[in-house]
């Protein structure tokens, strides 16, 4: 290894790595970020495929699935007709895969890993080997989840929430689910420690907390949520595993009779204990899904409106407040478990309070546009699309958060519509925005704008056609997780005709992902080459070469100002990078 004093050979300080060390068992945050990203995109597509299968059954209950139906075994779809067990497996695994193997790894593992060290001017994450361990633990969790489809009785089929006693007495797939979850939780815990230390310790000179890009703030708060919320679920997962494998009764009360036979267990446990432990994680988890998305949107809106974020500080304080509050709203998922007035009043109040910082952040984004010179490029379209879509997601949370209004809406399609608006046209649009935005940094090439816009318009229209009718079906009282979509019930009849249209929209949504997939791979090798700062952005990741070498920057940058100094009066150009030295 030859040391060089020249800055332009800075990258050569690192030894040349072999293929396995450079691309597979890498400790470089950028490679790990890309590994997370590609793996998560594959899982997102897989989770989406599970849903497309379910949508066939919902649109045409009990009819044989043409062409693809013959690919499935008799234990899942005999003669192409889906069995209820398989439908329940698909539902449980769709939720699990989308949340824990798709969106979180993409939002935190991929964007967090790739972008955070660059935005704070660091050469890498604080603990590179921990980072690699985090990815491979995630990968192992994913493999276990996929393998569970081969288990006797199929994959887990008790919902992504895995409520006992049903999950305690479920087929072997549930055991795989729990083991997979333990790997995934371990991965998130390792990652979260790494993010917290990196952001606190490795910020370059001059990058005070209030000069950090909003995205870094979002990742910091997210890391705290993961660190504090996941251990209870890990404990609960081990307890449920013991219930299943060692005949304990953490979640099983005395006196259960299943299909006519008394269950031979000691009893004395409580099914509600699981719900508390689960939602103590899973509510903060909702903010794990949404905060990085908000961070991405903040970056892109500031960049493409060519002006500073309006009310950056109030957005940051709201973010921190949101993080704290997210730990004391969990039981609003449990209003109908026999809750008294006092407890329900407490959780309704915290739920209404948590809506305020979300409103503040969304307001910051809306008002930031005022006075801008808005560039409608693909990443901006996705970021703008996020705003009204997340708006619908947030607003539909209000009736669910008021316990009296929740009575008829609880566990109906209204709930499904609500959280899909938050996560699909909300978070996913923001994640796509992030891919289009940071693609040039990762590859040195830019994705095609025209096909990006086709991808955007197709996706947003189809997503609304899928999710909006769910709100209507929910108001009509149709329960969620029904194998026939509610066809057994007379009261559901007036709203069931939406199901076919919703399913067609879901399949069309898949078609509109093709331009993205082709654009993505084509652009990696054949996309238009661009310089290191194609969007004329101010934040520090754009100071590094594209793609950044091992160690990231030519010289360690210094931050002289806040993150979004666009269109500064009197400045030569309409952006003043964070690390551009002030003119004397």
């Amino acid at each position: 290894m030859s040391q060089s004093d020249h800055h332009d050979e800075h990258a050569n300080e690192h030894p040349k790595l072999g293929f396995w060390q450079a691309y597979v068992f890498s400790t470089d945050h950028k490679v790990i970020g890309i590994q997370y990203g590609l793996t998560a995109l594959v899982f997102l597509f897989f989770g989406f495929c599970l849903m497309m299968l379910m949508r066939w059954q919902l649109a045409y209950p009990g009819q044989a699935l043409p062409i693809f139906g013959s690919l499935f075994s008799d234990a899942t779809m005999p003669g192409g007709v889906m069995l209820p067990e398989f439908y329940n497996s698909l539902g449980a695994m769709h939720g699990t895969i989308m949340v824990f193997l798709g969106v979180v790894p993409l939002a935190v593992g991929a964007f967090g890993n790739f972008v955070v060290p660059l935005q704070i001017g660091a050469p890498d994450m604080a603990f590179p080997k921990l980072n690699m361990a985090s990815y491979w633990s995630f990968f192992a969790g994913g493999v276990v989840m996929l393998y569970s489809f081969m288990a006797p009785g199929g994959a887990a089929n008790s919902g992504w929430t895995s409520y006992p006693p049903l999950s305690d007495i479920a087929t072997a797939g549930q055991t795989y689910w729990l083991i997979g979850m333990i790997f995934l939780i371990t991965s998130s815990l390792l990652g979260s420690v790494n993010f917290i230390v990196t952001i606190i310790q490795l910020r370059v000179e001059g990058l005070t907390y209030m000069r950090m890009p909003f995205f870094v703030w979002a990742q910091l708060v997210t890391a705290f949520l993961l660190l504090l919320a996941f251990p209870p679920l890990e404990a609960a997962g081990v307890m449920q595993l013991m219930d299943r494998l060692a005949d304990t009764s953490f979640f099983l009360p005395t006196g259960l009779v299943v299909t006519g036979d008394a269950l031979q267990v000691s009893g004395g446990g409580s099914p509600l204990l699981w719900q508390h432990l689960f939602w103590f994680l899973a509510h903060p988890e909702v903010y794990v899904l949404i905060l990085p998305a908000m961070g991405i949107v903040a970056e892109i809106i500031a960049n493409n409106s060519r002006k500073p974020l309006f009310g950056y500080k109030s957005a940051v304080y709201s973010l921190i407040f949101l993080g704290f509050m997210s730990f004391i709203v969990w039981a609003h998922h449990m209003f109908l478990t026999g809750m008294g007035t006092t407890i329900s009043a407490f959780f309704q109040t915290t739920t209404m309070i948590i809506s305020i910082p979300s409103v503040v952040i969304l307001t910051v984004f809306f008002i930031s546009l005022w006075g801008g010179r808005i560039r409608f490029n693909t990443c901006m379209l996705f970021a703008l699309g996020f705003l009204p879509m997340f708006g619908i997601g947030g607003l539909t949370g209000l009736p669910l958060g008021l316990s009296a209004a929740d009575i008829p809406l609880h566990d109906t399609y209204y709930v499904i519509g609500h959280f899909h608006y938050v996560v699909a046209p909300g978070t996913l649009l923001a994640l796509f925005a992030g891919i289009y935005y940071w693609f040039p940094k990762a590859t040195g090439r830019i994705m095609n704008e025209f096909w990006g816009k086709v991808h955007f318009w197709g996706s947003i229209v189809c997503m609304n056609m899928i999710f909006f009718p769910m709100l209507i079906q929910g108001l009509a009282g149709v329960s969620r997780r029904l194998y026939d979509g509610g066809a057994s019930y007379e009261f559901a009849e007036p709203v069931l005709h939406y199901n076919a249209a919703m399913s067609h929209a879901a399949w069309l949504l898949a078609v509109f992902q093709l331009p993205f997939i082709i654009n993505f791979f084509y652009s990696i090798w054949k996309g238009k080459q661009v310089d290191r700062n194609p969007w004329q952005s101010t934040t520090m990741e754009w100071e590094a070469p594209s793609p950044p070498p091992h160690g990231n920057f030519d010289t360690p940058p210094v931050a002289y100002r806040g993150p979004y100094e666009y269109s500064v009066p009197g400045a030569e150009k309409d952006y003043t990078p964070q690390c551009e030295a002030a003119e004397v």
Binding site: A262, L272, S305, T341, F491
Partner: protein, 256 residues
Amino acid sequence: MDKFWGMPDIASAHGAEIDQLIGYVHYLMFALFIFWGGFFILTLIKFRGSRPGPANYAGAKGKFSTYLEVVVAVIEAVLLIGFSIPLWAKRVNEFPTQDTNVVRLVAEQFAWNIHYPGPDGVFGKTSFELVNNETNPIGLDRDDPAAADDVTTINQLHLENDKPVIIHLSSKDVIHSFGIPEMRIKQDIIPGMSIPVWFTPITEGNYEIACAQLCGLGHYRMKGYVTVHDSAGYQAWLDEEAALLAEEEEGDDFWE
């Protein structure tokens, strides 16, 4: 505003209040969405990139957004304190004590067992050790004197119009959720617990009980039926059941 946006017809006394709250919340949601949506579209047009002049570094002025946030917070507080909390208290704290019908409902994969106390108004003892899926799905102890006149039905709930009913919900196996959309009633049923709900049917007719919590492969077909009778009809049904029970007992005596 007694029927909001395709919600089912209301068939219980408290249903209108629930729907009123749902309606108000949705009006707030529409107002916010339309206001911000309008602002959004206007901003995108007004500040599109092709317009002349640079972006404005200072951005929007004034405190309008803060005022709007305060207004939203106040409306939410009113909905919470003025509507949701009192409505909830009525459902879970203010159970009627006199002139009510009381029944037990025991859920199982994938059926609703309903247990009526009979003329004596006292439920007979039950035990999970006595459960037999064919002959005694709820494990009723017929040796208990209070159980002699108890009536049980499967998947068919009979109610009396204009009279409050208290239903004690319990489950034999997994979590279920008891919901009757027209009654604006839903309650999770947690094994190991007995959770009461109450409501007053106000419209005679037939309704469906829908399970709302995933309870296994038959969740989708875990459907029950509700019949709301007038008082005379309800009494006639009770008499009919009592007569059937007496016949059965005579039969039993004969073989003993």
